[in-house]
Amino acid sequence: MSEPLLKVKNLKTYFTSRHSQVKAVDGVDFVVGKGRVLGIVGESGSGKSMTSLSIMGLVPGPQGKIVEGEILLEDMDLVKLSDKQMENVRGNLVSMIFQEPMTALNPVLTIGEQISEMLIKHRSMRKSEAMAKAIEMLRSVGFARAEQIVKEYPHQLSGGMRQRAMIAMAMSCEPKLLIADEPTTALDVTIQAQVLELMKDLRDRTGTSVVLITHDLGVIAEMADDMIVMYGGQVVESGTADDVFEVTLHPYTKALLASIPVIDEERDRLYAIPGTVPSAANFPVGCRFADRCSLVETRCRETMPELQEVRTGHWVRCHLVTK
């Protein structure tokens, strides 16, 4: 693996109210290498989006809080930064793109104004200079008529174009890390292909590391170098994407792969994981997947398995999978 850029250590993000404590992220560790794409996959409620918001310092307060852990971007601990310092990190060192570009873009500003705003703030550029850079960025994400696009408003663009404009904006300050949270989920298949192709191309050109969050294992297989599988706020399996797809070890990951219809093969009946994801307000004592696992044993319900390195670089949280 290449040199690490981002190290997340024992991250815990909880939401506390008078009546309950929701453990959205509960002790997550991972590393993003320089120039690598880390895929985070999980179902709704697995804590994948809250992990990314924690990195961005955007956990919705006052109930939500990072209660423990470190997020090291090179040697800087993002958890310890003040709001002011964090503002300088966001958009500058770390950028994020979201599922729904329409809600992330400001509807009353032109695309050009939104991109140049960042450059003026973080790069102290003059307005004209920033606008020229905005046009250049838009061209690099595949807009042929970038000079016109800078003058247009978000509603004038289609979904795929908006997402490409978002990417242009996110990449304009040349961040070290790009976090993409379900970037293609709202897009049509052929447009998704365009956006994925663009993200790959940008990574190759700029060497930016990417954290790609999605529920779609197909997108992960396509894009990721490394991957982690999350369940119930924890990492249950992590490793290189080759390892996890080819030597799948955790029963949850296996079940997930067996439950998806695949074009290339005929599956008579899908494997349906029984039950539903446990509530983050009330996790069981033992393994969080125990109630839905086909291989469950008594010890699974009694003690929580540790995340162990079972093969080199391949980590699994399961009592039944050992070296």
């Binding site: 298949v189 292909a193 294992l217 297989a221 439950s259 494997y271």
Partner: protein
């Protein structure tokens, strides 16, 4: 009276012809009004001359991207939306012109399941009332009979009997979709139109609902029109698949030949673009440039010619008709005419 109706519903119906559903030259134009006088200045051709058939007990999948007209087609079959022209023969009878009481009676035989079970179920009704509603509205049996029927339906879709007294918000997305399915099944329809019925669900839950739909089909001899943007899901559940683009049917074939031998360049691109949960895909990816054109101003000739990698001169002028490539496979493309 109620008893009699129930009996006649259960009795085997002799079908005129082998098709449950025959859609011919179906069109839906939404008028665009413009100018100060709100004059009719054009049409959004949401569905433009679509024809297909559905045999009894068969599942037809319809795939396409947003704006291709797949949902509009489904809604016209359900008679939620009136068609502009064309015919929809259901059990040999054209249903496009039927209104009032006739329509209400006929509607018992075709039901719909929607994408979002959060908005398709009335949050103020408990599950028992929700499932009983179609039975009550259509006077199907006494109170006690309806209560028994609700209990039976809950069992059929895999929910516990005590779900009857709970409210939709107490259930997860997958369970809500089960409730919606139970409701659709209440009147023992022969056709179910499922519009993106599993798209909002997590993959593990999606598998549960897909399996349920497959079981119900066997148990009740249902036919489905399964509308989705997800090619893998459509392949899994369908016998035949139609691919729509910009209001037109680009290709329609039995599942095997469509996925093994896609003929239309659009189908080929669509299949190659779908990310599969496997490393090192052998398939060559075709990345289409540009967006789907607006159905208000569809391109001349073949609607796909603006993005087609194999475009020829004829494609820009002449609209290709859907022709039979072989007896299982129809395609609308000049490459094959």
């Amino acid at each position: 009276m109620a008893e009699l109706q129930m009996l006649s519903q259960d009795a085997p119906v002799s079908l005129p012809g082998e098709y449950l559903l025959e859609v011919k030259n179906l069109k839906k134009y939404f008028p665009i009004h413009g100018g100060v006088l709100r004059r009719h200045v054009g049409d959004v051709k949401a569905v433009d001359d679509v024809s297909f058939t559905l045999k009894k007990g068969e599942t037809l999948g319809i795939v396409g991207e947003s704006g291709c007209g797949k949902s509009t087609t489904g809604r016209m079959i359900m008679r939620v939306l009136d068609s502009t022209s064309g015919s929809i023969m259901f059990n040999g009878k054209d249903i496009t012109k039927i209104r009032g009481n006739h329509l209400r009676t006929l509607r018992q035989q075709f039901q719909m399941v929607f994408q979002d079970p959060y908005s398709s179920l009335n949050p103020r009704m408990n599950v028992g009332t929700l499932i009983a509603e179609p039975l009550v509205v259509n006077h199907k049996g006494s109170r006690a009979e309806i209560r028994d029927e609700v209990a039976r339906l809950l069992e059929v879709v895999g929910l516990s009997p005590d779900a009857r007294l709970r409210f939709p918000h107490e259930f997860s997305g997958g369970q809500r979709q089960r409730i919606a399915i139970a409701r659709a099944l209440a009147l023992r329809p022969s056709l179910i139109v499922a519009d993106e019925a599993v798209s909002a669900l997590d993959v593990s839950i999606q598998a549960q609902v897909l399996n349920l739909l497959a079981d119900l089909r066997k148990e009740f001899g249902l036919s489905y029109v399964f509308i989705s943007h997800n090619l893998a899901v459509v392949k899994h559940i369908s016998d035949r698949v139609g691919v729509m683009y910009l209001g037109r049917m680009a290709e329609i074939a039995d599942k095997k030949s469509l996925y093994a031998n896609p003929l239309h360049p659009y189908t080929q691109a669509l299949l190659s673009a779908a990310p599969e949960p496997k490393r090192h895909q052998s398939r060559e990816r075709i990345v289409l440039t540009g967006d789907v054109p607006s159905p208000a101003k569809p391109p001349s000739g073949c609607a796909f010619h603006t993005r087609c990698p194999k475009v020829m001169d004829v494609c820009r002028v002449e609209r290709p008709e859907l022709i039979a490539y072989n007896d299982q496979h129809q395609v609308a493309c000049h490459l094959y005419s």
